[in-house]
C-alpha cells in the first residue's frame, strides 16, 4: 500500500491538480495513516472533481480543533463529504453557534461525529430551529439543547412535520415536554409513533387524558412505547401477536393515505 500511495502521489503531481495545500505529507502530519490519507484523497476528489481541495485542509483542521481523532474525522467526512465545500470561517461560525446553543465539549464532538450534516446547516437556519422549538413547542433552553444532542437530524427536517409530530404527542397522547425529551421523541418517525399509539389505544391500553390530565387507565410511558423493539413492544406492552400488528400497520397505512388524499382534495377545492 505504500507503493500504491506513492504512485497516487505521483499521479496527482503529474496531473497537475491544484493540490497546493493538501498533500499526503500534510495528512500524515495530522496523524492520518497512509491508508487513511488515501481515503481522504478519494473523498476530496469525489466532490466536484477535487475543486474543493483548497477548503479541505481548513475543514480538516477545524475538525481536529474540535478534538476529533483522525479515524472519526475520516468516517464523518465519508458520511458527509459536503463538509469539504464549506469555507473555514463559516464552519467556525457554525461550530461556535452550536456551542452557544448549549452543546458543550463532549456532546459537541459526539453530535458532529454522529451527524456531521449539522455543520452544513447555516447559523440562521439553526437559530430558526431553536426558536421554533422554544416558541412553537415551548421547550426550555436546556430541553432544546437535549433535542439537538439526541436528535440532531431535526435541523434538516421539515418543521411543519416536526410540529405535527409534537402536536400529535402533546394533544393526542397527552405527553408533556419533559417526557418527550426523556423518550428522545424526535428520533422516531411519526408513522411509527402513531401506529404504536393507535394500536394501544384501540386495544384499550392507552387513553388521551382529559382536561385535568386524568385517565381511567394508567397509560404506559412514552419512553417504553417508543424505545422497545417490536417484539418487546408486542409482548410486554401491547400484549398482541405479531400477525395482528402486521395487519394493523397495513390498515393504518391505507387509512392515513386515504385521509391525506381527502385532505388534499379539500384543499384543492
Amino acid at each position: 500500500s505504500t507503493l500504491q500511495s506513492t504512485q497516487r502521489y505521483n499521479r496527482s503531481q503529474l496531473s497537475e491538480k491544484p493540490v497546493t495545500e493538501l498533500s499526503l505529507r500534510s495528512l500524515a502530519g495530522m496523524g492520518f495513516t497512509d491508508i487513511q490519507a488515501e481515503q481522504i484523497y478519494e473523498t476530496v476528489f469525489n466532490v466536484r472533481g477535487g475543486s474543493v481541495a483548497k477548503h479541505a485542509l481548513s475543514t480538516l483542521t477545524a475538525l481536529f480543533v474540535l478534538g476529533l481523532n483522525p479515524s472519526s474525522v475520516l468516517k464523518l467526512l465519508q458520511k458527509c463529504p459536503e463538509l469539504y465545500t464549506v469555507k473555514e470561517s463559516l464552519l467556525q461560525q457554525r461550530i461556535d453557534n452550536l456551542r452557544k446553543v448549549g452543546l458543550g465539549e463532549g456532546s459537541l464532538q459526539r453530535v458532529v461525529a454522529h451527524y456531521p450534516q449539522i455543520l452544513t446547516v447555516t447559523v440562521k437556519k439553526l437559530k430558526h430551529v431553536v426558536a421554533f422549538l422554544r416558541e412553537k413547542c415551548l421547550f426550555t433552553v436546556q430541553q432544546v439543547t437535549d433535542i439537538l444532542r439526541d436528535s440532531p437530524a431535526i435541523v434538516l427536517e421539515d418543521l411543519s412535520q416536526v410540529e405535527y409530530k409534537f402536536q400529535y404527542v402533546y394533544f393526542r397522547m397527552g405527553v408533556k415536554q419533559a417526557e418527550m425529551i426523556k423518550s428522545r421523541l424526535f428520533r422516531f418517525a411519526l408513522d411509527e409513533i402513531r401506529c404504536r399509539h393507535c394500536f394501544l389505544e384501540r386495544r384499550g391500553l392507552y387513553q388521551t387524558p382529559d382536561k385535568k390530565g386524568q385517565t381511567v387507565i394508567i397509560n404506559p410511558q412514552l419512553d417504553s412505547i417508543l424505545s422497545a423493539d417490536q417484539d418487546t413492544f408486542l409482548r410486554t406492552i401491547a400484549k398482541a401477536s405479531a400477525e395482528e400488528y402486521e395487519v394493523f400497520q397495513r390498515l393504518m397505512d391505507r387509512e392515513w393515505q386515504e385521509e391525506e388524499k381527502m385532505y388534499g382534495s379539500f384543499e384543492a377545492d
Binding site: Y164, Q167, Y168, Y170, F171, R172, F199, R202, R203, G204, L205, K239, A240, E243, E244, E246, V247, F248, R250, L251, R254, E255
Partner: protein, 372 residues
C-alpha cells in the same frame, strides 16, 4: 390545535366503547383487547355469490385472490391457527353437505348445511377490498357484499327442498338473499317491522333475483311487528330465521349517526333483550313441530345472546308447552375455523369474534329444534 377539536364530551361511540369495555372485558377476558382493536379497525367483507347472475363471477374473484370459503377445498391460502387435525373431519369441503365430526372423542351428530351458498373472501390477513358488484346483461348484480360471518346462520339453517321459511327480521336482506341462493325454498315469508327498511329490502331482492322467483306464489314481504307473529301464524314454517335488532356492536363503536347508545335511545336500548326474547318466542311459535329456529345477532353481549335463548327455551315450555332442543353447531366451527375466529367455550350457541387478521363478526347464532 388540531387535536383539541370540539367534539361533544361523550359522543355515542365513546359511550358504546365505555359500556363494552366494562361488560366485554369481564365476558371475554384476555380476548377483549384483540376483539376491541378489530372492532375499531376496518372490517372485512365477503362476497355472497349470486347464483341468479349469468356472469362467471367466482372465476373473476378467484383470479383476484379470493376463495369461496364454503366450498373451495384449497386450504393453502389459509394458514391454520390452532393445529390438531381431528380424525374424521374433512375440512372446508362441502360438495357433500353432510359432515361427521368428532370433538374431544365424543361423537357429534352430523350437521347438514343449506346447499348452493357460495361466499368469496380474501385470505386471512389480506386487506384487499372488493369492488362494487356490476350488473350482468339482465341487470342482475353478481355478488352482494356482507359480513361473511352472516352467511353462517343461513348455512346452518339446513334449508331443504320444499321448505317453508320465515325470515322474521329481514331488512336490509343480506340473509334473505343468502337463503334464496339455495333455490330450495317452496315459500319464503320475509318480514321487517320497518317500512322504509322493507323498501330497501325489496330493492335488494330486485337487483339480485329474477322476477319469476319473486312472485306471490313463492314470496311474501310484510312489515308486521314480528313479536306478534305467533298470534297470526302458528306451527307453519320448517325453518325460521330470527335475526333480531341488537346493539350492533361494530356500528356502535364506529358511527355516531343512528347510534343505539345515543342518550335519546337509552330506553330503546334497555328494552332490546325483552324485544329479542319476544321475537324469538314468536319465531318458535311460528315453526312447526320438528321445525328449526335460528336465532342470531351481531353483538357480543351475553345478555342479548345466551340469556335470551335460555329464557326463550324456558318460557316456550312454561307458557306454550313447546319443548325445544339446542342443535350443536360445533361441527360448523370446526369446518370454518380457518376463516373465522370463534369464541371458545360458549355453553349455548356459537359466536364469531372479530380479529384483525379475520375481521368478520361479531355474529352470534344458536339453533333450536322444536320437539313438540
Amino acid at each position: 390545535e388540531k387535536w383539541a377539536a370540539t367534539r361533544p364530551k361523550y359522543p355515542p361511540t365513546s359511550l358504546a366503547l365505555q359500556h363494552f369495555d366494562a361488560t366485554y372485558s369481564a365476558q371475554l377476558g384476555q380476548l377483549w383487547p384483540s376483539v376491541r382493536v378489530a372492532l375499531l379497525s376496518e372490517r372485512k367483507y365477503g362476497a355472497l355469490l349470486n347464483n341468479f347472475s349469468h356472469d362467471a363471477i367466482l372465476e373473476d374473484l378467484r383470479a383476484k385472490g379470493c376463495r369461496d370459503f364454503i366450498n373451495d377445498t384449497d386450504t393453502v391460502a389459509q394458514p391454520c391457527l390452532e393445529e390438531g387435525p381431528v380424525a374424521g373431519v374433512k375440512e372446508e369441503s362441502s360438495d357433500v353437505p353432510v359432515k361427521k365430526s368428532d370433538i374431544d372423542g365424543q361423537q357429534l351428530s352430523p350437521l347438514r348445511l343449506s346447499p348452493h351458498i357460495k361466499c368469496a373472501v380474501f385470505p386471512r390477513g389480506d386487506i384487499t377490498r372488493f369492488k362494487p358488484a356490476r350488473p350482468d346483461m339482465h341487470k342482475l348484480l353478481g355478488y352482494y357484499l356482507m359480513d361473511a360471518a352472516s352467511v353462517l346462520p343461513c348455512l346452518a339453517m339446513d334449508v331443504q327442498e320444499g321448505h317453508n321459511v320465515l325470515d322474521l327480521c329481514a331488512a336490509p336482506g343480506g340473509k334473505t338473499l343468502t337463503l334464496l341462493q339455495t333455490q330450495s325454498i317452496r315459500f319464503l315469508c320475509v318480514n321487517d317491522t320497518s317500512v322504509s327498511r322493507t323498501l330497501r329490502l325489496r330493492k335488494v331482492l330486485h337487483s339480485y333475483v329474477p322476477k319469476e322467483f319473486l312472485t306471490e306464489r313463492n314470496l311474501r314481504i310484510t312489515s308486521f311487528d314480528g313479536t306478534k307473529w305467533g298470534e297470526i301464524e302458528r306451527e307453519t314454517f320448517d325453518r325460521v330465521l330470527v335475526d333480531v335488532p341488537c346493539t350492533t356492536d361494530r356500528h356502535s363503536v364506529i358511527e355516531d349517526d343512528n347510534n343505539i347508545f345515543s342518550k335519546t335511545r337509552t330506553g330503546e336500548r334497555r328494552r332490546l333483550p325483552q324485544v329479542q326474547l319476544e321475537l324469538l318466542l314468536a319465531g318458535i311459535e311460528a315453526a312447526c313441530p320438528g321445525g328449526e329456529i335460528m336465532y342470531s345477532t351481531c353483538t357480543l353481549s351475553q345478555i342479548q345472546n345466551l340469556s335470551v335463548v335460555e329464557q326463550a327455551i324456558h318460557l316456550a315450555r312454561e307458557k306454550h308447552g313447546i319443548r325445544l332442543e339446542v342443535v350443536d353447531l360445533r361441527p360448523l366451527t370446526r369446518m370454518f375455523r380457518k376463516t373465522f375466529h370463534f369464541a371458545p367455550d360458549l355453553h349455548l350457541g356459537e359466536m364469531v369474534i372479530p380479529h384483525l387478521a379475520a375481521n368478520f363478526g361479531p355474529i352470534y347464532m344458536c339453533k333450536l329444534r322444536r320437539l313438540t
